[in-house]
């Protein structure tokens, strides 16, 4: 008889281990279920209506993909702009920019529609084997406010299984996991999988609300070529180019990329092809996303400091400068806010029906005062941020 087979296992050790497993299960369940509770967003004085994306496609109602839609309508009639944050919840500056607009911006002419958690399901999990924290905090003057980090794709608990090859509604063949990527699923399909129905609902919103200009906010890893950039559908290229030029005059370097016609399923391509909106996508640098990053934690997400990226930049491996101060969230959200404001400003010079908003801080203001100064405090708000 082998020594191990003598063992010490008895019915009561089995029972004890089952109880221990149940205890671990309880703790783990609590942690995973907490991901399904949305951290609050406090509508500011500029918000005139809060609806749901399922208002535009009822088959989304009651699903984990349904998500709030915030409308900021001005006293004067004008055009309509759509801002999308949270297409990829592992790109948090996008969602935070949308939240800063909801909590602090006011529209005087036209309408601003903001979806801060575009892929709501993807906020309920993180990507496996990446070591991401479930949450991170932004310091406000009244204390830290917690936000959720999420996944690039729809939670597999909500949409399963992934195919080996995903052919999206626009006919593009992609890797199987992209079936849960909202920004590969446009223009969506009313009878498709959950992510395709979500994409379809967003396109329906653009059509129903007659959106004139639609901006999809993102982040990219420092080693990704399309970074600190505006990607524009050909119809929106002149607006993007002029905005980039003016942003350069203001000291903010940003590139312009034309939306490839052969890369289908992305917002900047399909929104432009399937709707009348000028379609744009904006990228900021997120050190927590890249493969060259070091320790992955909430500090990296918020502070954006990583010595390995500093070394990679010294060796010319990155597409953005990367100094010791890194790329903090304040900078990334500030860039997005100033870019959105500039895109609308340029759009207004061309359009008959413009969108005028106030209360949007510049990059310099966010760097000076911190993003938290432009968000409500963690407790229920009593006044504007």
């Amino acid at each position: 008889m082998k020594g191990g087979e003598r063992g010490y296992g008895r019915w009561w050790t089995a029972l004890g281990l089952l109880i221990a497993a149940a205890a671990v299960l309880l703790v783990a369940s609590h942690s995973f279920l907490a991901m399904h509770v949305d951290p609050p967003i406090y509508p500011g004085q500029g918000v005139t209506h809060v609806g749901a994306l399922s208002d535009y496609f009822d088959r989304l109602a009651g699903t984990p993909a349904d998500t709030p839609v915030y409308v900021l309508e001005g006293a004067e009639p004008g055009g309509t702009a759509l801002i999308l944050g949270g297409t990829h919840p592992n790109e948090p500056a996008a969602s935070l920019t949308a939240i800063a607009l909801i909590e602090g911006a006011t529209v005087t002419r036209g309408r601003l529609i903001v979806i801060p958690r575009a892929n709501h399901s993807a906020f309920t999990c993180t990507d496996p084997q990446e070591g991401y924290p479930q949450t991170y905090t932004i310091e406000t003057p009244a204390g830290p406010r917690e936000f959720r980090y999420g996944s690039r794709g729809t939670n597999p608990v909500h949409q399963w299984p992934d195919p080996v090859i995903y052919i999206n509604a626009a006919g593009q063949s992609l890797a199987g996991a992209e079936v849960r990527n909202l920004n590969r699923s446009y223009p969506g399909a009313p009878d498709g999988n959950l992510t395709e129905r979500l994409a379809y609902a967003i396109v329906e919103l653009i059509r129903t609300e007659k959106v004139d200009i639609a901006i999809d906010l993102h982040e990219a890893s420092p080693e990704y070529p399309v970074i600190n950039a505006i990607v524009a559908h050909e119809d929106a290229l002149s607006v993007a180019a002029e905005a980039a030029l003016l942003l350069e005059f203001e000291g903010m370097q940003i590139g312009v990329e034309r939306s490839p016609t052969n890369l289908r399923g992305l917002s900047h391509r399909e929104w432009g092809d399937y709707t009348d909106a000028l379609a744009l996508l904006v990228e900021a640098p997120n050190p927590a996303q890249g493969r060259l990053r070091g320790r992955t934690n909430a500090e990296l997400i918020v502070e954006g400091v990583d010595p390995y990226y500093v070394r990679a930049a010294e060796r010319g491996l990155l597409y953005v400068p990367f100094l010791e101060q890194g790329h903090p969230m304040d900078e990334r959200v500030g860039r997005h806010l100033q870019t959105v404001a500039m895109l609308l400003e340029v759009y207004n010079t061309y359009a008959d029906a413009d969108v005028v908003m106030v209360g949007v801080p510049t990059l310099a203001s966010v760097l000076d005062h911190g993003l938290g100064a432009y968000l409500f405090p963690p407790a229920a708000p009593t006044d504007s941020p």
């Binding site: 063992g7 010490y8 281990l17 369940s29 608990v157």
Partner: protein, 47 residues
């Protein structure tokens, strides 16, 4: 599809619990208890 997946996972859980109760080696019992955790999270669609 998801229901079939859950039935398969639940069947595996039942077999593991059965083995855990009959197993005489403590190390094997511990391994079985560890394996149960992600499987139960799967069946409950929590992760």
């Amino acid at each position: 599809m998801t229901l079939i997946y859950q039935i398969i996972a639940a069947s595996v859980i039942a077999l593991i619990v059965w083995n855990l109760l009959r197993e005489k080696r403590l190390a094997e019992q511990m391994a079985a208890a560890l394996v149960l955790i992600p499987l139960i999270l799967r069946v409950l669609m929590l992760k």
